[in-house]
């Protein structure tokens, strides 16, 4: 068995989600080769070569991979798959974008967003927003798999794989990157943060999110939101935790003014400790919370900030 795993990165650093995907690849077993497609991403290739369990790194360096389109990644990956049994990618917006193109070209059914590996051909994946778990067995000779990173352990360092430079496809491609508007924040990234504090419709406005920001600063937490808060325009879309947003599983998840629709629960219920703050004691969020506080969030949040200061944070 040989596995080609596509690294998730921003050309400067290797995203930790890649480490989780390597865990999933190790569970399948076999030689694991990591593909780094980037522009000036030499450091990423080096970092990938140091991952525990990685046998080899393939590095394709080209301008088109600075912000890779699905078409360019398809052109790079499909020919490589002649030498591999499994293509693995992180279920990020990048992985979700290109992996099905590769699967279609290889004429195989993709296994989307797996959360467990049962054997080399059998996997568990959530369906219906995580309200049911489906175990599926693939009969395809080659497999294309995307991995939900929050459910796999992240591998550490300790490998010393060789880095082989490979040619990038020539193009031109029928799609071009134009621009990007990334949310700027000094806080940890939502899917990587150890603590996440999220606000919902109960926050009443985008300005009130500053109350969450203050607590996030104390806890070195990421700030998230429910779909209701995003749809109401309080915060940008990349804050959204839930079925169609980001799936997070931090050590501590604090839900503030979030009622707990099943679509939101799908995105956070694997968190280790869940705290819910809501003035409606019937809110469904309390049914999954380890600690619930029935109170007005506008009274609670300043108090919480104060108590955290008292606790030395």
């Amino acid at each position: 068995m040989s596995i080609l795993l596509v690294a998730e990165h921003d050309n400067a650093t290797l995203n930790d989600a890649t480490r989780a995907a390597v865990s999933a690849a190790k569970a399948i077993g076999g030689d694991i080769h990591v593909l780094v497609a980037g522009s000036g991403a030499g450091d990423v290739a080096k970092a990938a070569a140091g991952l525990d369990g990685v046998a080899k790194v393939l590095h394709a360096d080209a301008e088109v991979f600075a912000k890779p389109t699905a078409e360019a990644l398809e052109a790079l990956v499909v020919p490589l798959m002649a030498n591999y049994d499994v293509l693995m990618a992180v279920a990020s917006t990048t992985g979700k974008n290109f992996a099905p193109r590769v699967a279609a070209k290889l004429d195989v059914m993709q296994l989307s967003e797996i959360v467990a590996v049962e054997s080399a051909d059998t996997f568990v994946r959530p369906i219906y927003a995580g309200n049911a778990m489906m175990t599926v067995k693939s009969s395809d000779a080659k497999k294309v798999i995307t991995v939900r990173p929050t459910t796999f352990e992240k591998v550490g360092d300790g490998g010393s794989a060789s880095v082989e430079t490979i040619d990038a496809p020539a193009g031109p491609f029928k799609s071009q990157f134009v621009s990007e508007e990334l949310s700027k924040s000094d806080r940890p990234e939502l899917t990587a943060a150890k603590i996440v504090i999220s606000g919902g419709r109960g926050m009443q406005s985008g300005d009130n999110f500053v109350l969450l920001d203050k607590i996030a600063d104390k806890l070195n937490a990421a700030v998230g939101a429910s779909r209701a808060a995003v749809d109401a325009g309080y915060v940008p879309n990349d804050y959204q935790v839930g079925q169609t947003g980001k799936v997070v599983a931090p050590e501590l998840y604090i839900a503030v003014g979030i009622s707990g629709a099943i679509q939101h629960l799908a995105g956070m219920k694997d968190s280790k400790i869940i705290v819910a703050i809501n003035k409606d004691e019937e809110a469904p969020i309390f049914s999954v919370a380890d600690y619930g506080l029935v109170a007005d969030l506008f009274k609670v949040l300043p108090e919480l900030e104060e108590e955290l200061t008292k606790a030395g944070l």
Partner: protein, 249 residues
């Protein structure tokens, strides 16, 4: 320009799904079914493009049981012009759906295919990308804004860190994200009008596509349940528990 909009009939967004006791799937008997919400957004986007001008016809296609006609009628009531139902009671996986849609595209020659980024039943998020690959067309997935200009589409996409804009040549495949638009409710006169719009009934065999599944379902189970914990009385008590009992802050 013609726009093709594939739509899927799924369990209604508001229904709480139940796993069957024999673990073969989820219970679909006597459950309310509706159009997949992302497909509704796709239909709405196509109708808005037609209203702006430059679009001659919107063709809606669905693959599924006879009842999927209702889903097509919903799209026709929103403003689509005609429908195609590729009727089958079998489970059709995204790869086979993409192959069938590729054949429909060959016949219909649309300038754009707009479809939902994922269906809320199997949450696969594959069909649009697979269709684009089979056609060797460019794709613009997870769209939150689409501007058509001559032979190009400028599409803003929802990505993990924020928003990204790409330019794709048309014909192209576009998949919709939640914030692209808010779908309309069909008016009663339009619902009545939709009853007279044509729907062609086809079978997968008509397109010569093998729809045999590649994945077999071993079992479907309930997710691990989380037990509700305790209610705390004060913020001080909460901080004490998180710090001293759980050690997470």
């Amino acid at each position: 320009m013609k726009i093709l909009v594939p739509v899927k009939r799924v369990i209604d967004y508001n229904v709480k799904v139940r796993v069957k006791p024999d673990q073969t799937g989820v219970d679909l008997a006597n459950v309310k079914m509706s159009m997949n919400p992302f497909c509704e957004i796709a239909v709405e986007e196509a109708v808005r493009m037609k209203e702006k001008g430059g679009v001659d016809e919107i063709v809606v296609v669905s693959i599924g049981p006879a009842q999927a006609q209702e889903t097509i009628r919903t799209a026709l009531a929103m403003g689509a012009d005609r429908g195609i139902l590729i009727q089958t009671d079998e489970t059709v996986e995204p790869l086979a759906v993409a192959k069938l849609l590729a054949k429909v595209v060959e016949e219909e020659a649309p300038g754009l295919v707009i479809l939902g980024k994922q269906a809320i039943d199997d949450d696969s998020n594959q069909t649009g990308q697979m269709l684009a690959a089979l056609l060797d067309w460019p794709q613009a997935t997870f769209a939150s804004e689409v501007v058509i200009d001559g032979g190009k589409a400028s599409v803003t996409r929802e990505i993990d860190g924020g928003l990204q804009t790409i330019a794709v040549e048309t014909p192209a495949v576009i998949t919709t994200d939640l914030r692209l638009n808010e779908p309309r409710y069909a008016s009663l006169p339009n619902i009545m009008k939709a009853k007279r719009k044509p729907i062609d009934i086809k079978a997968p065999g008509d397109y010569g596509v093998d729809i045999a599944p590649r994945l077999s379902v071993v079992k479907v189970t309930e997710p691990a349940k989380r037990e509700a914990g305790i209610k705390v009385e004060s913020v001080a008590e909460l901080v004490d528990k998180l710090k001293n009992k759980e050690g997470v802050i």
